[in-house]
Amino acid sequence: MAKQNKNLTIVGAGKLGIVLAQLALKAGYTVYVSGSGSPDKIRLSVEVLAPGAHALTLADATKRSDIIVLALPLGKYQSVPKDMLAGKLVVDAMNYWWEVDGDRDDLRNPETSTSELVQSYFDTSRVVKALSHMGYHHLLDETRPVGAPNRKAIAIAGDNAADNQVVAQLINDLGFDPLHIGQLSAGRWLEPGHEAFGANVDSDTLASYLHDLPPSYAAAVT
């Protein structure tokens, strides 16, 4: 198993970003958070809501960890300079949310997962889709230790087995059972409009929500 890096950088200090920071701190990670602008803008939120996490600029925060979680509105992914994430493992937790992102044809293509778009933009990073399907309040309320009954599951879609494993460890550390569902393209089955979207259930139940995932997408990754 890959050695777990205990640093975590979260881009986006909103509802999801703050909850992920809280969970990662609880799991013993050193956490770096950035918003879109000056760290001053998010400092108080981070200090009060996720005490111990560090509020930094995007450029600083992305340097501090090999794993970067994207928790900003999907419509703004291209505002993160791709060079800042070069060589990093990027966890894409974003969904196309038209009420925030506006009507965007590019984000609504039913043929590709939005994570594939994110991957093609960050073409020098490795993107794994995870932490996107569960509501932020459930993420906070529903953590359980390893082996606890009814431990909730978080799905992972990614093209590289070693990276998937690292993300699985992160999810496990945060308090959830990781569930590998297949390649990055399979992430589409976690998006809004699919049964797994919003899922706050255990591993078996989550797997059952993915019954319509074609086997070719679920194929084992290398």
Binding site: A13, G14, K15, I18, I42, L44, S45, V48, L49, G75, N95, W97, W98, E99, V100, D101, G102, D103, G135, Y136, H137, H138, L140, D141, E191, P192, G193, H194, E195, F197, G198, N200, Y209
Partner: protein, 355 residues
């Protein structure tokens, strides 16, 4: 005890369309008149505030809360008349003030505003705003609103509305101030914004554990300290339903809650609501559904945990029988509120806590 005396109990409606005695869905007009009757009953039974949300969709009848509130104003005596929320991003702060100041006159000073971004976005295309500007729109308009509420000449410049130079806005209110809060969900930035302008905070907790908002309240207070503003007024708003027994409450609420949730969820990409999740919310989290005793216990627990001084119960989600809604209001006012007061007084007595 002071805590219980100053505590405010509210009822919130979005003007959901109820069914009549024959099980027939009411018209929008009928649904609006139903809300007026409910507010009159709530006033008679001593509920502190009725808050009406603004929506622009076929499943909710109220798009102009202050107009409905004006109707209620002339037929009630004590109940405070609030919006919940006024979607400020797609409105004009000057017009918002004018309408609520008018309501304040008609109601002898009972108007209240809750500003919010709203949880729906229909008003944006309707009034010619871009969704992607929603952050900027809200930010600028809150800033202007805060000025207008001072009832002094307003000078303001921004990008989302034309500038004002020493503009007087009328009518002036008798008290000199319309009570105005900001409704927020889980966004830390919104909490800080409320503190920045010294607006009371209304937490919209529509799912999950209310306790997770404790750090947000701390954030509000600490931000208030930094800005030097008053952050003593904090309320919470959560959905619920009350019937004579737990079973009956769940039996009436579940299908209606599901219809409501699924209709909204389908536009956002949530799959249909499952019964287990409804049951989980009722048992553990933020659906206040059950007999008066069950709901009172749950409310008291939340109020104590968060230390808030206002609780608004959002009622009537989905096509509920109008009769069940009226009965719910009666139970809320005559059983739940007194019981919550009792529970709060008991625990105040034990801890000797004064607020």
């Amino acid at each position: 005890m002071e805590t219980t005396q100053t505590f405010k109990f509210g009822l919130d409606s979005f003007g959901d369309i109820p069914v009549d005695d024959d099980g027939k869905l009411m018209s929008h007009a009928g649904a609006i008149r139903q809300v007026v009757e409910e507010a009159i009953l709530a006033d008679k039974l001593g509920v502190d505030v009725i808050a009406l949300g603004e929506h622009h969709r076929h499943d909710f009848s109220i798009s102009s809360p202050e107009t409905v509130l004006a109707g209620i104003a002339t037929r009630t005596k004590n109940i405070k008349l609030a919006s919940g929320v006024t979607v400020l991003s797609s409105d004009d702060p000057v017009r918002v003030f004018e309408r609520f100041a008018t309501l304040d006159a008609l109601s002898n000073g009972r108007a209240q505003i809750i500003l919010g971004r709203g949880s729906f976005t229909e008003s944006f295309p309707l009034f010619g705003y871009e969704l992607r500007d929603y952050e900027l729109l809200f930010e600028e308009k809150v800033e202007l609103m805060a000025q207008v509420l001072k009832e002094k000449p307003v000078t303001w410049t921004g990008t989302t509305r034309h500038a004002l130079a020493g503009a007087e806005i009328y009518p002036k209110t008798e008290s000199g101030r319309i009570h105005t809060s900001i409704g927020v969900g889980g966004s830390p930035q919104s909490v800080i914004r409320a503190a920045k302008y010294g607006f009371p905070l209304m937490l919209a907790v529509i799912g999950g554990s209310p306790e997770r908002f404790i750090p947000y309240i701390e954030l509000y207070k600490q931000a208030g300290e930094q800005f030097g503003t008053d952050t003593s007024e904090i309320g919470i708003h959560s959905p619920g339903f009350i019937a004579d027994t737990d079973e009956e409450a769940v039996e009436i609420a579940w299908p209606n809650h599901k219809i409501n949730f699924d209709r909204i969820g389908s536009t956002r990409g949530w799959p249909p609501m499952k019964r287990e999740h409804f049951d989980e919310e009722v048992a553990k989290y933020s659906l206040y559904i059950g007999s008066p005793e069950t709901v009172a216990q749950k409310m008291a627990k939340t109020i104590k945990a968060l230390g808030v001084n206002r609780f608004d119960l959002v009622y009537g989600g989905g096509p509920m029988p109008a009769k069940a809604r009226l009965h719910m209001i009666e139970l809320y006012a005559t059983k739940v509120i007194p019981r919550v007061k009792e529970l709060l007084a008991e625990s105040d007595g034990i801890s000797g806590k004064t607020k």
